[in-house]
Symmetry: C2
Subunit: 459 residues, 2 copies
Amino acid sequence: MEVKKVLLLDDEIPRQWYNILADIKMNPPLGPDGKPISPEQLAPVFPMNLIEQEVSDKRWIDIPEEVLKVLKIWRATPLMRARSLEKALDTPARIYYKYEGASPPGSHKPNTAVAQAYYNKEFGIKKLTTETGAGQWGSALSFACAQFGLECKVYMVKVSFEQKPYRKSMMSVWGGKCIPSPSPYTKAGREVLEKFPDSQGSLGIAISEAVEEAVADTTGKTRYSLGSVLNHVMLHQTIIGLEAKKQMKKIGEYPDIIIGCAGGGSNFAGIASPFVYDKINGKDIEIYPVEPSACPTMTRAQFGYDHGDIAGYTPLLPMHSLGHTFMPAPIHAGGLRYHGMSPIVSQLIVEGLITPKAVNQLDCYEAGVLCAKTEGIIPAPETNNALACVIAEARKAKEEKKEKVILFSWSGHGLIDLGAYDKYLAGEVIDYKPEDAELKKYAEILKNYPKPEMIKDYR
Amino acid sequence: MEVKKVLLLDDEIPRQWYNILADIKMNPPLGPDGKPISPEQLAPVFPMNLIEQEVSDKRWIDIPEEVLKVLKIWRATPLMRARSLEKALDTPARIYYKYEGASPPGSHKPNTAVAQAYYNKEFGIKKLTTETGAGQWGSALSFACAQFGLECKVYMVKVSFEQKPYRKSMMSVWGGKCIPSPSPYTKAGREVLEKFPDSQGSLGIAISEAVEEAVADTTGKTRYSLGSVLNHVMLHQTIIGLEAKKQMKKIGEYPDIIIGCAGGGSNFAGIASPFVYDKINGKDIEIYPVEPSACPTMTRAQFGYDHGDIAGYTPLLPMHSLGHTFMPAPIHAGGLRYHGMSPIVSQLIVEGLITPKAVNQLDCYEAGVLCAKTEGIIPAPETNNALACVIAEARKAKEEKKEKVILFSWSGHGLIDLGAYDKYLAGEVIDYKPEDAELKKYAEILKNYPKPEMIKDYR
C-alpha cells in the first residue's frame, strides 16, 4: 500500500532534545557594558533553570516527563508524503513534510511554550509575560500556561490584534490575557505612543513591553518568555527534526534538501538542527532557511551585534540584523516580520552550513493555494514561504531530471489567517522589497556596537 | 509509560464501512404520491452508485482505494485518553475521545464528503451543490471536490455566512463557491425572500435551494450532496467507530457508555453504529446521542414522516421531526440546528437501542472551556453538546464510585467558531428552550403525512 504518512507511537517520541551548542562555537551575548553577560544578569528576565539551558553545551538534554505528557496531546506529528503536490508539479522529487499544524494552537510554537511553562513553574514562577506578532506564539503560550496553571499576559502587535480577533479569543479561552501593543501600560509603550500615536506596533516594541512588565514585578514571581531567537527555544524545537529523522528512517529515506521558513528561526532550527549535525559529520545535504523578501534579515543584512527589541532592553545578540528599529512592510506572514535572527541560525549561515533564501509574497500565496488544493491542508502564511522554496526546488529537480528527496517543515495551518487568503484571491496581495538605501539607513545603528567574531571552525 | 493516545498506522485503517441496514429494519422514504420512492425517482438528485448504497442491506461495503488515499491525509484519527479532564473532575471514569478535528476542514464531515465526491466523479458528474449551516459541511465538500477536480457550490445559512466569514474563505481557497441563503437565484430562495425579506435563513431553506439548482441543470452533470441525515452518509461515517473499536482493543478497553452530538445524526451514527451492532448482539452498553435543548428533535418531537427541507422538495423521511418549518433559536452550535434527524438514528431510538439526551447551551460552553483548559483542544460548539453529557456522566460515575469507561466523539475543533466563545466569556450566551405550545404548532404539519410503522424487531 502507498504510504501517505509515517507515524510514531507515544513510546517512540524522542526523550531528549539535541543541543547544537555542543557542535558549534558562538559569540557570547553582551551586556550594556559591552562585556559577555552573566547568567545572574538574566535572572530578572528568565528563571535560572532556563538560563542554564541557554548556555549549556551538553549535546543531549532530557525532556522532562511532565513536558512529554503535554506534548503527547499532538506529538509525534505525522511525517507526510506530498504525493498530490508531486503529481501536480510532475516532479521526480519525493517531497515530505513534517506537519506541525497538528498542535492545539495550530503551529510548532507549543513545542517550546510547554517546556518554558514547565521550567518556570518548577522554578516557582506564577506568571509569564510575552509578545506576539501574528498571534501563533501568544496562543501557544496561553495554551501551555493553562496546562501548568500559570497566568499569561500577551502584548500583541496592534495591527495583528485588529486583523486577527480570533487570536485574542483563543488566548482568552485558555485563560491568557491579550492586549494590543504599543500600550499605555509600560514606559516603552508610552514612549512610542507619544512619538507615533497611530503606531501599528512591531515585535520589537511588544518585546520591550513584555520584558518591562516581567522585570517590574517586585515579588519576583513573574518572568518573560520568548517564542523564538534564543538558544533554549531552538533546543526545544529540535524534537521536530529528531522525529522526522526517525520517521524517514522507518521508510528508508534520507533528505537531500531541507527547507523551513525563518522569522526568528525556531521552526527552521527545529527541523534542521539534527540534520546540520549530520552535515557537520560529513553528510551531503542542502539546508535552506527561507525568509520573505520584504524582511531580508538573512539574505541582505549583516552579521553583527544588535538588540532583540526596540527599546534596547535585551542583551546584544550576535546575529543577522536589519537594525532593531527596522519596520518591515505589512506582509501577511506576521511571524516572519522580525529585524533579527536566532544567533544559532546566524552562526550556521556564517559557517556556510546552511544557505538562506528569500521569496516574494505573491509566490508564497500561489504556493499556498496550490498546496491547499493538492495536499488538502491550508498552510499558515509563514509556511507559504517554505512552500514557495519547496516548489522551486521540485521544479528544478524536474528540469535536472533528478530524484531528489525534499523534507520541509509545514509550520502551521492557516485557519486563523484566512483573511490573508481572501485578499490574495481578490488580487490584493502585493510584493514588497525594501530599497538598498532604506536597509542601509536602519543598519547604521549596528555601527554603535561591537563586532562579533566570524567563527568558522565546525570541522 | 502512560498512554495518552492510541494510533492506527495507514495499513491498519479499516477497509470497509459497516452498514447498519443489514441489522435493523426501516420504513421506506415516500414520494409525493405517498408510495415508497423508487431509485429512479432520486436519480436527478443523486448519482445512481450512491443511491444503490443508500438502499443496500449488505453488512460490509468496501471503501474504494481512491477514497482511502484521501482519507489518509488525516485518518486514522487518534483515540485520546482525557486524563487531564478526568483529573479535573476527580472521577473514577476512564474517558476516551476520538478526535475528528484532525481533518483539514477541522471536523468529521470530510469522511463522507470525500466518498460522495469520489462516487459522483466516478458517475461522470462535474459539479456538486449543497447547503451548509455553520459551514463545517460546506468547507468539507469544497475540500473533497478539490481533491477530485469537481466544481462545488454551497448555499450557506445567511446568519452563519455573516457571523463566520472565515468559512467562506476556506471554501474559496479550495475552489468552492459559497453564497448566502436565502438567495435570489432559486425559486425556493425567492419565495422566502418575498415573504420575509430579512430572513436569516435555515438549513431547510438552504437544502431547497441546493436541490433546486442541482435538478435544474439540464446537462445532467450536476448533483446534490447532503452532509448528514441519509443512510449513505451514516455509512461513510462508521469509519470513526470502526477505528475507535480497533484502538480500544489495542489497549484492552471496551466502552460502557458511548456519547456523540447529533444534529442530522452523522457524527453520532459514525461513532455509535459499530457498537450498536455489538449491543444488538448482546453487549451491555449505554449509547447517548446528545442534542441542544433549543432544538429538541429526539427528546421532544414525534417519530413521523416529514420532509428534510422547507420547500418539500425531498422525499418524506421516517424520522423524529419538529416539523419542517420549525425555526430553531440562534444557538451557536449551528450544525445542530435542524428540524429532523437521520432515519437510522430515529429508528434506533424507536427500537430502544439508544437513549437521547438534551443539554443546555450554557452547560455546553462551561464544558467546552473546561476541556480546552485541561485537554488543550478548543472544541467546536457542536462537540460541546457531547462534552456536557460526558461531564455529567463522569460526575455520576464519581457519585456512584463506578469505574466506567466512556467513549465519545470530539466532532471538531472550534478555531473557526471562536466568536461564540467570546460571547460566552463576555456572559452573553444564554439558554433557549422552546415552549410546548410552540413545538405543537410546528408539529401540526406532520398530521398531513402517513404514519411510519413502529418497527421493533432487531433481536
